[in-house]
């Protein structure tokens, strides 16, 4: 059972992380190539707090808060740039985060942080916590999508200039998306740190940012169920594919490519298309 618990925990954390990016990229249309930085901020902050002997819930809350605050600051800066410029700016934020962490001795520098205390819960208990948070994040996403804010996000994602012309305070909504998305990423990071119990700068690098973006896009950008499904599958895919070890990454790349090439709306798009065909409508 322990193996299944480990897998479900990893899946759950990935789902939370992917949903957090979905708030920014999926709902609000702002592409981020540096989202792993906020995951890392949450992880480092939470780990430092439990390592100093303070309780785990406090650590999670602090990681969430710090990631959200820094995310908002980055969001304010990002208001100046748009589209592909924004994508590359966020990528830069990711590299800057790594560069800074690498040099901080109090964060373990290159050595990372070892000996992070456990959550105090049993393995199954921790899994349950992760899954409950993941479910809550999904429920929140669904609620948000149908709320007024969700509609405004949609219009910004669609066409920022038109939204502005309609009198929508685009900056404020973009900032809220950034704040919520980065805070949730921080929460996922805090959970990650107490699951793996060893963190180092390389765990929050560019590859991780790309991986989570791939989850969102493969799931179907903006679709909550698609993103949940894609995050769950993609996070454990490398483990399921152990039997083809040598071709594992090749297959992963091919999967990303093929989903985009043949169903650019991701898994969610595939399901919609199938449903339409089954219903006999064009």
């Amino acid at each position: 059972m322990a193996y299944e618990i480990t897998l479900l925990t990893a899946m759950g954390i990935s789902v939370i992380f992917a949903l957090s990016l979905n708030l920014i990229t999926g709902f609000c249309g702002q592409i981020s190539l540096g989202h792993a930085a906020f995951y890392g901020i949450g992880a480092y902050c939470a780990a430092m707090i439990t390592k100093s002997g303070l309780p785990f819930p406090l650590a999670l809350a602090a990681g969430t808060l710090l990631a959200g605050v820094i995310g908002t600051v980055v969001g304010i800066a990002s208001l100046r740039v748009r589209h592909d410029f924004l994508a590359i700016t966020t990528m830069g934020v990711g590299f800057l985060f790594l560069g800074i962490v690498r040099q901080q001795d109090f964060l373990g520098g290159e050595m990372g942080l070892s000996g992070i205390p456990g959550s105090g819960l049993s393995k199954a208990g921790f899994m349950l916590l992760v899954l409950v948070i993941a479910a809550a994040a999904a429920a929140f996403s669904l609620y948000l999508k149908r709320s007024w804010m969700g509609y405004v996000f949609d219009s910004i994602a669609d066409d920022e200039d038109t939204a502005r012309m309609l009198g929508i305070d685009v900056s404020r909504y973009k900032l809220s998306a950034f704040a919520m998305g980065t805070a949730l990423a921080g929460l996922a990071g805090g959970l990650y740190a107490h699951n793996i119990r060893f963190i180092d700068p390389d765990s929050f690098g560019f590859v991780e940012s790309i991986t989570v973006l791939a989850m969102v896009v493969v799931g179907g950008i903006g679709s909550v169920w698609g993103v949940v499904l894609a995050a769950a599958v993609l996070s454990v895919l490398p483990l399921w594919l152990q039997f083809i070890s040598d071709y594992k990454l090749l297959l992963y790349g091919a999967l990303l490519f093929c989903v985009m090439r043949f169903s650019s709306n991701g898994l969610a798009g595939m399901v919609t298309a199938l449903a339409k065909r089954a219903g006999g409508r064009p």
């Binding site: 990528m91 830069g92 560069g99 800074i100 990454l249 090749l250 990303l256 985009m260």
Partner: protein, 286 residues
């Protein structure tokens, strides 16, 4: 003296960045696609360069084979991978491109082995004195190559019908088409030229490091993106200057800021600083 040497080293690095980024900017200018897999062509160019040189002993022949071969490969990638995605949101092509790049890196590892390849007798390794500073011939070749190839490209873009057509297509594809420009052909040509330049960079980098690894393209894959953004996305002159500037900043930064930030972080700190002041890049139009 040291400053001059650091400047030269920065220009060498910048020239390589330029050769890679120019192709990317050509593609971006036309299609608004962040073509990450471009770095895979750069790596494959390096592999072809080493294999051909080792087999025949001629670096020139290696370049003559690698550049057109990668050019054609670039066209093939455009036609099979990007063309069907042109009407889609930009992130679709971006993720497809990343998937393609991962596949290419893994194929290189499976085909050529994880250890990478080296020149048996690497050419152009002798030192050349420039104003009292020694450079390898290969380093000089990187700079001269970049100047000749990119300068030639700029000349052609400015003076030939294809160049004019290409610029017109970048500015306003619909209008260009109305004036009888064959857009499909322009796109093929841009992919061919950009990919061939990346291949030349691959051959040169392989020569400088005497090593081609499967992951040789992973740093250029993201740094070239930063460069074209810095240069103003789609602007040839801006890309060239941004590439050289980044090379020089990294060169000085490695020595004087190395204990605060690593090379990538220095480059991106510069990028963010520029974008905060000029959100459209150094030479982009507002």
């Amino acid at each position: 003296m040291l400053a001059f040497e650091l400047l030269l080293q920065g220009l060498v690095q910048g020239s390589i960045y330029a050769l890679i980024a120019v192709g990317l900017t050509l593609v971006y200018g036309l299609l608004r696609i962040l073509h990450v897999a471009h770095a895979g062509l750069f790596t494959l160019g390096g592999y072809i360069g080493v294999l051909v040189t080792n087999a025949t002993g001629s670096l020139a022949l290696a370049l003559l084979i690698a550049m057109p071969a990668m050019g054609l490969f670039g066209i093939a990638i455009y036609r099979t991978c990007y063309q069907p995605l042109l009407g889609r949101p930009p992130y679709v092509a971006l993720i497809a491109s990343i998937g393609l790049f991962i596949m290419m890196e893994e194929l290189f590892r499976l085909i050529f082995g994880p250890y990478g390849l080296s020149y048996v007798a690497p050419p152009l390794q002798d030192p050349v004195g420039i104003l009292g500073v020694n450079l390898k011939q290969a380093e000089l070749a990187a700079m001269v190559g970049a100047v000749v190839l990119i300068g030639g490209l700029a000349f052609l873009a400015g003076r030939t019908r294809i160049g004019t057509a290409s610029r017109a297509t970048v500015t306003d594809p619909k209008m260009a088409e109305a004036f009888g420009v064959n857009i499909a052909r322009i796109r093929d040509i841009n992919f061919f030229v950009g990919s061939a330049l990346a291949a030349s960079a691959g051959v040169i980098v392989a020569l400088l490091n005497n090593l081609v690894e499967p992951t040789m393209g992973s740093v250029p894959s993201y740094k070239a993106l930063a460069i074209i953004v810095l240069g103003g996305l789609g602007d040839l002159r801006g890309t060239l200057i941004a590439a050289l500037a980044l090379g020089v900043i990294e060169s000085f930064g490695t020595i004087y800021l190395g204990s605060f930030l690593d090379r990538d972080a220095i480059a991106f700190a510069f990028l963010i600083a520029v974008l905060m002041i000029r959100p459209q890049g150094l030479f982009g139009k507002a």
